[in-house]
Amino acid sequence: MARAAVEMRSVSKRFGPIEALADASLRAYPGEVHALLGENGAGKTTLMRVLCGALAPDGGEVLVENRRLPPGGTRAAAAAGIGMVHQHFALVPSLTVAENVALGTREGSGLRLALDRVHARLAELERVTGLPVDAGAPVAGLSVGAKQRVEILKALYRDPRVLVLDEPTTVLGPQEVDWLFGVLRSLVAEGRTVLLIGHKLDEILRVADRVTVLRRGRTVLAQGRETVDAPGLARAMIGRETTRAAGAARAEAGERVARVEAVGIRGDDGRMAARDVTLDIHRGEIVGIGGVEGNGQRELALVLSGRLPPAAGSVHLPATVSLIPQDRSAGGLVPGFDLAENMALAFHDDRAHRRGPLIAWRAMRRTARQIVARFDVRTPGWRATARSLSGGNQQKLLVGRELARSPDLLVAENPMRGLDIAAAAFLRDKLVELKGGGPGEGDAGAGGRPTNAPPGIVLFSTDLDEVLDLGDRVFVLVRGRLIAVPEEERNPAGMGRLMLGSERA
């Protein structure tokens, strides 16, 4: 077989009592797209951080083109040809594309930026990869997809032999995903190696040549694309069989529970994040709203849940509205608070959790324990802060809390994101059960809705399959405008067209 571009052998890494990587190995060859799969907490990102030199492993070794990589140095890794595109953009909004690219390069390290050289190189990269980008434009004004292009260009600028992309598709619409995959194929055609971290099996299988699956810090599967299928991969990831529930039955709408009319919303930057949004929400239905991130979802979710007053229009909401915001670590949970304190954010006013002016912390901890048990939140201990949980476990904690409030209306923004397959399936079932008037999570002792009347649910998601699968009525949100998806367009391609069409307008 050809010489491996990257070889990681028996890498281990502990964080205190937690073993993040136990015996993780990976072998990727030049000219292939290599997918790295695993549940949340399986160690995918940790392994990639070891590869990039951001973390020093406790044991094992890393070889790049058969040469051992000295551990724990981002410079050495970069020099060896490893480039990484992070899931979260690390761009300075006020600088131009070229300036962002120049940051941290030789061209940017002198007293003056040698920007003409950057521009020239960017033009060359643009020609080679077909990545269109306006090098002189400020990053602040770019769309999410364009920002990601800049991140990729930033990595390609150093001409890496190995390019690592961490969940790159979550911020992209369907057409953009296709386009990204096209770029990745052209990169490997040049003999480079692409390491792709992902969680959507269908997507991964479309582009990957080889697949490595991690489970609890160990490599449990490493095979070529042709020998694996989605159920097999899922089994490898979670270690047992899963069944995916059949598509939820469309619900008959119940009484109207909330209404927003001609609502306009001002974003943090003072610009209108959404305008002229009118929407009725009924008990027992899921309103699915698709769209690419950054089109007003966050602001509309805040207004629909009564957390933000609109700049225009009228809002009528029920008494209890749950909100699962997108950014859980900076919005839903307080990172420095422990589990019970994070539960108290929602429940500290409920009679069951109060003793006069005091908070009944014992009862609060009991509630927290119930939520933790029900949603299988893995925590290092009872005094653990939310910060110390992995992203997926934070999400489970937050979802658990918001469902436990027994809301009349539930507004959720990408609630499945970051959840592992089992938890996502559980949440999905829970949502379906909830809209059907099931018991929900109200028995967690949070009081709230006395009757069995189901809540109305608004589900924002960038995953169009999710919206199509769960939504009784489906919309797309494009540049702050809410567009109903007609029956004949209820498919990913149709929704993608609506999203693009409006973008051109």
Binding site: F15, I18, G59, E61, H88, E341, L345, H348, L358, S390
Partner: protein
């Protein structure tokens, strides 16, 4: 296999906070001693003067160190509470002056009132005045979105100049000779504890510290304050916390504590209103609160530490002849060393157990969380 697994650079889990603290104090002492020696003073004698000045005897400790610590406890609590709620109240100094004016006014206006009425009345007036003094910054924050850092600082100047005007004008002593008020009625003064100068304001401050700690920990109000301070977003998103109201309440309460400090200082120490009444208690309070990690119980220790430093510094002047400017410089040096060591220590405890920015028992985390560990825009392009 990698033969030499890299260890995080600083492992202080074993050394423990006490030892690290000792190191900090020691480092500060060495720095201060070096400075003194350079200036031509005997560092050993100066050190001895500092310690004996602050601790020399119980009476001295109580009469000087604890008396100095009292206004620092109260203003330290004021700042700690405000910062806990995410309110940058830099105006404890001005609120202290407002409280002092109110207490003096009550203490002068009702000379015939009995002590059980006059003293609590004066203290209540001081607290209310301190709270009222925050109203301008509060109003500007809520109505005009002006940050309270600037406005509270400006209100300090307003307070200081108002006091100057008052002692030259409306509140000047009856004889109209010196720029100070008449001494307040005996019934408005805080009772002394024991034979020294220690007054009842000290136990009051200690009790308030305990109460504030307990309330922050156990009450719904305290929880809301902590939540808003820790993350306004999360507090607002929870839908159960009216963040504006919480901020308003904490701001006012903070001002009241600082105002009370002024009242206590007047009723327990100076008995009259002067210009320059406070040697910057409201500013030192910021260092006290930060050093205490915004924890009310730790504020007691931090304020005591500053009390020791100030009492000892004055003794250095008296016993060794170190000039006041040098004393101020050394004070600042010690504060700096302790704060720096404290920060260093705190960071060390985190890096000792896991990747930077996470607390002790962090698991190997996934995608979103982990990329925040290298969230610095330059950290992953640096090369």
């Amino acid at each position: 296999m990698i033969s030499q697994p890299l260890r995080p650079r600083l492992r202080s889990r074993r050394t423990g906070p006490l030892a690290a603290g000792m190191t900090a104090i020691l480092a500060a002492a060495v720095l201060a001693a070096a400075g003194l020696a350079l200036a031509g003073y005997d560092p050993v004698a100066a050190g001895h003067a500092l310690v004996s000045g602050a601790f020399g005897s119980w009476e001295r400790f109580a009469s000087i160190t604890l008396v100095r610590a009292t206004p620092l406890i109260l203003t330290g609590l004021a700042v700690a509470l405000a910062f806990r709620a995410g309110v940058w109240n830099i105006g404890a100094e001005g609120q202290l002056y407002a409280g002092a004016v109110a207490a003096v006014w009550v203490g002068l206006a009702f000379p015939a009132a009995p002590a059980w009425l006059l003293l609590p009345g004066a203290m209540a007036a001081a607290a209310v005045a301190g709270g009222l003094w925050t109203l301008v910054p509060v109003g500007l924050r809520f109505r005009a979105g002006v940050g309270e850092v600037i406005t509270t600082i400006l209100m300090n100047f307003v307070a200081i100049h108002t006091v100057a005007w008052l002692v030259h004008g409306p509140l000047q002593e009856a004889r109209g000779v010196f720029p100070q008020t008449d001494p307040i009625a005996l019934a408005a003064r805080l009772p002394r504890l024991g034979s020294g100068r220690l007054h009842a304001g000290f136990p009051v401050a200690v009790v308030l510290a305990g109460a504030l700690w307990w309330l922050l920990r156990n009450s719904a109000w305290g929880f809301r304050v902590r939540a808003v301070g820790a993350s306004v977003r999360a507090a607002a998103v929870s839908g159960r916390i009216h963040t504006g109201r919480v901020v308003l309440g904490a701001f006012l309460f903070s001002g009241m504590l600082a105002g009370l400090a002024g009242g206590v200082e007047v009723a327990g120490v100076t008995f009259a209103l002067y210009e320059n009444l406070s040697p910057g208690y409201g500013y030192t309070a910021i260092a006290v609160a930060l050093l205490a990690g915004l924890n009310p119980i730790a504020v007691l220790l931090a304020a005591g530490f500053f009390g020791v430093l100030q009492a000892g510094a004055a003794a250095m002047q008296r016993d060794v002849g170190v000039p006041a400017v040098w004393v101020s410089a050394i004070e600042a040096l010690v504060i700096l060393a302790v704060v720096a060591a404290d920060r260093f220590l705190r960071r060390g405890m985190e890096t000792g157990a896991g990747p930077p920015g996470r607390s002790a028992a962090s698991p190997g985390s996934e995608a979103r969380e982990s990329s925040s560990g290298s969230g610095d825009p330059l950290s992953d392009t640096g090369g």
